[in-house]
């Protein structure tokens, strides 16, 4: 029991931190521009694919450096030449634009890289077991994922709280309109934040690609969960996004690891049931089966009881 729990916690942590890497960029972008960027996970996918190609030439570490920069530049370009234009048509149009962009990027990835799964590997340098617990190995790469996520958050935190740019961004989060009045070049800041946010998604893609497999559906797999996380945490709240990311990561990880479900519950309640009942599927439901559903359930519950999300306070 104990070992299952510890590994589930570690895996949940890895997933949660990865999710937060996406959610933090998404939150930054939302806070400043009021747009929920539906294509955010697509930039994550681009990060994985570009890193895969680059690492073919100069190895994993080169990919880790170059791919996020390229993705960030692409993101900035999308903001400059696409989103900025659509901005004047209102929020629905913006949301729909990023939705279409997600669709297009998925097609473009298939156009350039094909439909098959890419053999994107973890670097040899990290191909060993970091530690062994109860006879189970925890790979060094997962440790590296945790380390790099934490490193990035530390950097992000320092930039946001200590630098001038960070202070302007923070101001834009709480008082989006005042910043423009103070004479800052808001469109330029928007472009940079969008670029930085997508670059973060790119980093997440580079490090997740080898473990979560690099294939054209990877954006969809993670995407909707990330959007849900930022809403659960409260749109525009970085701490909220952090809590929600870990919550979702751990919740899913525990549900998958748990070997329990309706049969056990019913047995515990002393209810016996007929195998051929029309609701058979419901009575035999196991927790690992509903793991993928949990984030959505959580979302719906949170939105019903606290429409602004866990830590959000901004009404629309």
């Amino acid at each position: 029991m104990n070992e299952v729990f510890i590994f589930a916690t570690l895996n949940g942590l890895v997933t949660g931190l990865l999710l937060f890497m996406l959610a933090s960029g998404l939150t930054l972008i939302f806070s400043m521009m009021g747009v929920l960027n539906f294509a955010h996970a697509s930039f994550y996918m681009l990060g994985a694919y570009i890193a895969y190609t680059v690492s073919g030439y100069i190895g994993f570490w080169g990919g880790l450096l170059i791919a996020p920069l390229l993705v960030g530049a692409l993101g900035a370009g999308v903001e400059r030449y696409g989103l900025r234009r659509v901005h004047s048509y209102g929020h629905v149009a913006e949301l729909i634009f990023t939705f279409g962009l997600a669709f297009l990027i998925e097609e473009l990835v298939q156009f350039f890289w094909g439909r098959d799964t890419k053999n994107y590997q973890t670097p040899e340098l990290l191909d060993f077991a970091l530690f062994t617990l109860f006879g189970q190995e925890f790979s060094a790469y997962r440790g590296f994922m945790i380390a790099i996520s934490l490193g990035i958050f530390a950097a992000l935190y320092v930039v946001l709280t200590r630098s001038r740019v960070g202070i302007i961004i923070q101001a834009s989060i709480s008082h989006p309109h005042t910043v423009a009045n103070l004479g800052h070049n808001v469109p330029f800041i928007f472009m940079c934040v969008f670029g930085a946010g997508t670059a973060l998604a790119g980093v997440a893609g580079v490090i997740a690609g080898p473990v979560l497999t690099t294939f054209p559906g990877m954006a969809v797999v993670l995407g909707s969960i990330v959007y849900i996380i930022v809403v659960i945490g409260g749109l525009g709240s970085l701490p909220g996004a952090f809590i929600a990311s870990l919550l979702v990561g751990l919740l899913q990880s525990y549900a998958i690891a748990a070997d329990a479900g309706m049969p056990e519950l019913l047995e515990w309640l002393g209810v016996s049931f007929e195998r051929s009942h029309p609701l058979n599927d419901l009575w035999t439901l196991k927790l690992p089966q509903i793991a993928p559903v949990l984030p959505y359930l959580l979302l719906i519950l949170v939105l019903i009881f606290k429409p602004t999300g866990l830590m959000g306070n901004r009404e629309e």
Partner: protein
């Protein structure tokens, strides 16, 4: 009033005559798809265009209506239920409505991003459950039925696709009429008001939540009717019909067609169904073209194709349309050339063998082939650049004249 009756008569006439014009197997099959998608897109427009609720999960009502309809078909086949399959769309409608009643009761409190995210969450939830509740949803394979059982409808047993078409066209006509009439009622008009300015709507006595809820339920019901048509036409349904892909597709249709206009989604559904059925035979890349078309529409035609047509109202009223024809042609020709060359390049990049294109044989590895296409594209782009000022001037002229006439 007269004018309206005439329009509706024309609509009915077109629906009746279409199968005679496109009587091939492919033609009828496409027409059948169109009836389904037009109805579905109209119901989506009710939600977003009329009610201002951006949903990423509209396929839920379509799919649930469809699943219940297929199950109803099976119950008819097993003689548990005895009624004509012509009424199946009603089954879809009822269950679409029930689902919307339940989901709408908690999701319509807010519009905007919160609503959009709840709709996404519910959509994903239902899709995930569909893989869990295999008895009802049939797992990955889906559920199939047979539409030829049950009492015959005046001797028609729906063995032929064309018979199915008339059934679909009938329900489409009825549903279109009802949806249009809804826009003319107090609830329908308040849906527009709430879309435009929810705050003010509350100060003239209306609960925005209630107004949204009514629109939401109506839209869910008509989506369910479309799902019923789907069930009759394909005789099977899978999880794919309620997932995000289908939700996204209907959003695409409504948006490309034009959200603000009642006929917008009809145009969008026709365009996308045609692209889907025709292009997908010719090119593996059609989804890529669709994505590009969608983004360009969002960027340059925010009101969709219907909005683009409506932009010409002023020019039309002043009889200035004629002056626009030539500039339009002069721009469209090179634009078409550019587009053709672009498509040629996209196709060529993925061609394993010789690509027969514009009566040329192009090869993937031949620099000359690429050069020819690049030249054509450059000529097209240059032509557009040359023609644009003239078009802009003509546009200016036509609309300036319109303003003069007004004042």
């Amino acid at each position: 009033m007269k004018k309206h009756l005439l329009l509706w008569a024309a609509y009915a006439l077109v629906l009746v005559l279409l199968p005679s014009l496109f009587s091939s197997v492919l033609g009828i099959s496409i027409l059948n798809q169109m009836t389904i998608w037009i109805l579905f897109a109209l119901s989506y427009n009710m939600m977003l265009g009329q009610g201002g609720m951006l949903s990423f999960g509209h396929a839920v009502y379509f799919g649930l209506g469809g699943f219940m309809s297929v199950h109803a078909l099976n119950l008819i086949a097993d003689e548990v239920l005895v009624f004509s399959i012509t009424l199946i769309p009603l089954v879809g409608g009822v269950f679409g409505l029930l689902a919307a009643l339940f989901i709408g009761s908690f999701s319509t409190r807010k519009a905007g991003t919160v609503f959009a995210m709840i709709s996404l969450g519910i959509g994903e939830l239902i899709v995930a459950s569909s893989l869990i509740f295999v008895d009802f949803f049939g797992g990955e394979a889906g559920v199939s039925g047979d539409r030829t059982y049950g009492p015959a409808f005046f001797g028609i047993e729906f063995l032929q696709d064309s018979e199915v078409y008339y059934l679909g066209a009938f329900w489409l006509f009825v549903a279109t009429l009802l949806m249009y009439l809804f826009t003319q009622t107090p609830a329908g008009r308040m849906a527009n008001a709430v879309r435009d300015n929810p705050e003010r709507a509350e100060f003239i006595g209306y609960s925005t939540r209630r107004v949204r809820f009514i629109t939401f339920c109506a839209a869910g019901m008509f989506a369910g009717v479309a799902g019923g048509l789907f069930a009759i036409n394909y005789e099977f349904i899978t999880e794919e019909n309620l997932n995000a892909l289908t939700s996204g597709r209907v959003l695409l249709m409504a948006y490309i067609g034009g959200l603000g206009f009642f006929i917008g989604p009809i145009i969008g559904a026709v365009i996308l169904t045609l692209m889907n059925s025709l292009l997908s035979n010719y090119s593996e890349m059609w989804m890529l073209y669709l994505g590009i078309l969608f983004l360009l529409t969002v960027m340059f035609l925010p009101k969709g194709f219907a909005g683009f047509i409506m932009m010409h109202r002023a020019a039309w009223n002043n009889g200035k349309m004629g002056s626009l024809v030539l500039p339009y042609c002069l721009t469209a020709l090179p634009a078409g050339l550019f587009l053709t060359a672009f498509i040629g390049m996209v196709e060529l990049s993925h061609a394993d063998e010789l690509l027969h294109f514009l009566s040329m044989d192009l090869a993937n590895d031949s620099a000359f082939s690429w050069f020819v296409l690049a030249m054509l594209a450059a000529i097209g782009a240059g032509g557009v650049k040359l023609a644009r000022p003239r078009l802009a001037a003509a546009w200016e002229h036509a609309n300036a004249a319109a303003q003069e006439a007004k004042s």
